[in-house]
Amino acid sequence: MNPGAAPVATPFFFYLLAGTAIVGAMLMITRRNAVHSALALILTLLSVAGLYLMLYAPFVAGVQIIVYAGGIMVLFLFVIMLVNIERISKERQFNRMWPVGLLASCALLALFLGALAKGKSLLPDRMMPLPESANTQGIAAALYGDAGRMGQYTFAFEIASLLLLVAILGAVIMTKKKI
């Protein structure tokens, strides 16, 4: 493991990334303009990619940026631009049921805190510094198999790709007027 991979200023970066993610999420749900919401969501997704990096999972971080921030969000922006949203932007952002929503989220927070308090002994004290290359190869071994054996998730991977093919075919068939 090269010396540059030693973690530097971990609490600072964690709080920075987590704070940015939370700020982005809150901006996303409070903006009237849908494009601003989408940009705030991109901020959140990039912060989550940074958090993946801090967990020594660089491959997942890279794929998050490529797929989520660079692909799905472009699609979101397509839809926002193609659909007439002027009517939507004049609606109220928070409806009258917000006390119920607040109660539900407080209950969820209480659940998380309870799980953290009770299960604290199950979580490790510090993150084990894994070598960075282990992430890509670990995912490859789990998905594609290693040394002649089938991987743990190879079958599920193939089934998922078949599902995606069916979804693509369905989308093409539904949008074409005449095949």
Binding site: G4, A5, V35, P58, A61, I65, G70, V74, Q137
Partner: protein, 430 residues
């Protein structure tokens, strides 16, 4: 201080991996300045080359042979009025060039100009580059939307559809190059940019020529997709002046437009760097395995000096050919001074090369080795830049439906086929 400098020059890992933040920061500043300077040069070179392709002269007035034209353009763009269209979304209008610029420049942190001449070497280098350069599509979409005008909106929609389509083909071509890095004794490849060039050195072949014609096909698919990714001719319908009045950056003026231009040229150089690293041997000089030995090393290390000497000779010749009229005197003197500067740089490089040959471990030797890597890398990227301009001068524009048809019906099947055949051939020959 000098010892630290020497030890830094002799290190085998980039400063980001060595944990050396000062040198990483210095590299970042050098890259920033270098890319900005390169964009200025590209502006001049593009206008002159397009002009010469069209049998005219191009800018000739601003400096000798128009050499000061980019500075005049930059000054004009800085001083122009900053217009925001009425009804435009102010925040998105402001943030779109920023996203584009950040996405274009962040890619440079993993580009390997040499085995230790990079800001850092991530284990997922190529994945990072593909991901961050795909964030540039967001800038175009946001810019088109924020302009509150139908030409930019159509241009932005077309451009983002084109970018997303050609990203798929580009990714497939990149995957087949990455696959070739795993045909070694260990059986595992690497995603890191420096590792890819090292794999080409170990396998004694540029991936361009590996399993001929598979490497060449993957490279051709990437070369076409990278032109489409940067919205350059012949795929520049989103910013076509005859159809869309400059497309998504119609409503941008002055400094904001210059950000888009900067981002476009920086993205051009970034994808050219990907092509050079993955297929054309990165920073390696020609025939590093075949023509080995200190003699050949010294011969190839003279090339930077020879290049600058050639440029100095051309410049001086141009100065000699200038008319001797009084009105041209200052241009003549300026061009001759520029030629003298180039000649001085050539002399400096020659001294470094000769001093480095005498003792390879001293300051000049290490500097010379690093300089050689950077020189060969930049030469290959410069070839790609020339190709970009040549394409723009030569080919007519693709119509948008033709563009999408080529992207999905030709590029994607070809790149998938190349990937499958490369895998089969690699397993058989391993």
């Amino acid at each position: 201080m000098l010892n630290q400098f020497m030890s830094y020059l002799g290190s085998t890992v980039p400063p980001g991996n060595a944990g050396n933040q000062l040198w990483a920061l210095i590299y970042v500043l050098i890259i920033f300045a270098g890319v900005s300077g390169a964009v200025l040069c590209m502006n001049w070179i593009e206008r002159k080359l397009l002009a010469h392709f069209q049998i005219r002269l191009g800018p000739m007035r601003v400096g000798p042979h128009g050499l000061l034209q980019p500075f005049a353009d930059g000054l004009k763009l800085l001083l122009k009025e900053d217009i925001i269209p009425a009804g435009a979304d102010k925040f998105a209008f402001w943030v779109a060039p920023v996203i584009g610029l950040v996405a274009a420049f962040t890619v440079y942190s993993v580009i390997p100009f040499g085995p230790s001449q990079a800001v850092t070497d991530m284990n997922i280098g190529i994945l990072f580059m593909l991901g961050v350069s795909s964030l540039g599509a967001l800038a175009i979409v946001t810019a088109g939307w924020a302009s509150n005008s139908h030409y930019p909106l159509m241009g932005a929609l077309r451009s983002s559809a084109q970018l997303v389509s050609y990203e798929v083909a580009m990714g497939m071509a990149v995957v087949s190059a990455i696959l070739m890095t795993s045909f070694n004794t260990k059986g595992t490849g690497t995603l890191s940019m420096i590792g890819i060039v090292e794999a080409q050195y170990e396998q004694r072949v540029w991936f361009l020529f590996k399993f001929f014609p598979l490497g060449l096909l993957a490279f051709v698919v990437f070369a076409i997709a990278m032109v489409a990714e940067t919205n350059r001719a012949p795929f520049d319908l989103p910013e076509a002046e005859s159809e869309l009045t400059a497309g998504f950056h119609t409503e941008y003026s002055g400094l904001r437009w210059s950000f888009f231009m900067l981002a476009e040229y920086a993205a051009m150089m970034a994808v050219s760097s990907i092509a050079v690293t993955l297929w054309m041997g990165g920073w390696m000089r020609p025939f590093p395995n075949l023509l080995q030995g200190p003699g050949w090393d010294f011969l190839f290390s003279l090339f930077p000096a020879l290049t600058f000497a050639g440029l100095a000779a051309l410049t001086t010749f141009g100065a000699a050919r200038m008319p001797t009229h009084l009105y041209f005197r200052i241009q003549r003197i300026g061009l001759a001074a520029f030629g003298a500067v180039l000649g001085f740089v050539a002399l400096l490089l020659l001294v470094i090369a000769i001093a480095g040959r005498a003792n390879a471990a001293n300051l000049a030797g290490r500097f010379d080795v690093g300089l050689g890597h950077v020189y060969w890398f930049l030469l290959k990227v410069a070839i790609f830049m020339y190709l970009f301009i040549w394409y723009r001068a030569t080919w007519p524009r693709y119509r948008f439906d033709q563009l999408m048809a080529v992207g999905w019906k030709v590029m994607l099947p070809v790149s998938l086929g190349v990937l499958i055949v490369t895998a089969i051939v690699g397993v058989i020959l391993a």
